[in-house]
Symmetry: C2
Subunit: 205 residues, 2 copies
DNA sequence: ATTGTTACCTAACATTCGTTTGGTGTAGAC
DNA sequence: GTCTACACCAAACGAATGTTAGGTAACAAT
């Protein structure tokens, strides 16, 4: 009846729901989509498998919500960092986006890394809807590269579309490694930025 | 009794076995490890599921053989191309290796693409043994980059280990795309080579 | 004190999975 | 013509899967 009543009533439900999402995201990263069973998820949460259906319609919608949120996490993280560096030049903004993308994947969001690792193995309908969600985040990079191009910072003959694909490959593939713990993500970003934009070859080779 | 007798006796067995491997590789690329069932494989071959056990101990060893052969395909393809260009400079040899790696993944071997797409989702023991198989192919690239470094063709401050990881990310991640059919793999290789080695930024940005 | 809702559990459902067992037709060897 | 090894099939196994139905403690509202 009070204003705090409705939130309090809804709290346990929301907490449990969030716990399920968190634990499932972790399992999806570790074992992939098909190998993560509802009973495994339930055990990680401290429930029984059937109880998951109180919070989600089925396994697919649970996973879809996680993978969708994964894109949102990366997009918000990169977006916030770019907003904070609104005055930086286009190349510096690209470097910031690279570091932020890497940091979200490796240190901040199991949702994001679950998205990368499971996308290809998820049912086609989900994958189709996830493509739509990706497009908005893709747009951020399209704009970043367009800004760099307009500023005359990109070399001639470089196709921005391929460059974007190359960047995604570089950044997302790092999930396949065990990151060397002696090197920071800042180092990694610096190396990748140098390779992709300044080139790994000595000038004139 | 004749010399052709033993081969003829063994032929049907070998043909069937190879058919199983081929069809399974294709299914692994399309649906991933856990979602590819033995009954699906058997149907694609024209057998019943139980009959697969005449040729393989179990699902895991069937898959392991495919993923292992995938590495062999790439390694032999790249190795042959490099042997044919023994006199080329280290940077040209790197370009050749890139194109050959891409071509094997996209046009020549389902075994190779199955390896890339399924490696992370395969049982840990198999993954552990596959790492050993990868190491030899990794050595090819370690040598390529060492040759480039020794020739003074690499920029200072570039860590060859990170550069190799970057290259693998770039090349292998292309399997996540639908390759634009209007662009050849030669174009793609050229773009990637320019980005990674000459840099996507205009000099002095 | 009673009622109703919330957030689960128990127990089962039908299916599918990898796998095994016991056969069976066919082809060549003798 | 008989025999034998080969390459497979038929049918089932137990276990695991996603999912559903019915029940039940705990708590809040009345």
């Amino acid at each position: 009846m009070s204003q705090t009543d409705a939130p309090r009533k809804a709290r346990l439900r929301d907490v449990s729901r969030r716990t399920i999402l968190d634990r499932t995201a972790r399992l999806l990263v570790e074992r992939g989509y098909s190998s993560t069973s509802l009973r495994e998820i339930a055990k990680a949460v401290g429930m029984k498998a059937g109880s998951l259906y109180y919070h989600f319609d089925n396994k697919e919608s649970l996973v879809e919500e996680i993978l969708t949120e994964g894109v949102v996490h990366v997009q918000e993280s990169v977006g916030a960092a770019l907003d904070a560096a609104r005055d930086a030049g286009p190349m510096e903004r690209l470097r910031i986006a690279m570091e932020c993308h890497l940091r979200t994947l490796h240190e901040q969001s199991d949702y994001a890394s679950a998205h990368i690792r499971c996308f290809a193995h998820v049912p086609p309908e989900i994958r189709h809807r996830l493509r739509k969600v990706r497009e908005e985040y893709d747009g951020v990079w399209v704009q970043l590269l367009k800004d760099a191009e307009d500023a005359g910072s990109l070399a001639e003959g470089i196709d921005p579309h391929f460059l974007r694909m190359a960047l995604f490959g570089l950044l997302n593939w790092t999930l396949e490694w065990r990151l060397p713990p002696d090197r920071s993500l800042e180092d990694l970003t610096y190396q990748f930025y140098r390779i992709v934009f300044e080139g790994a070859a000595r000038d004139g080779s």
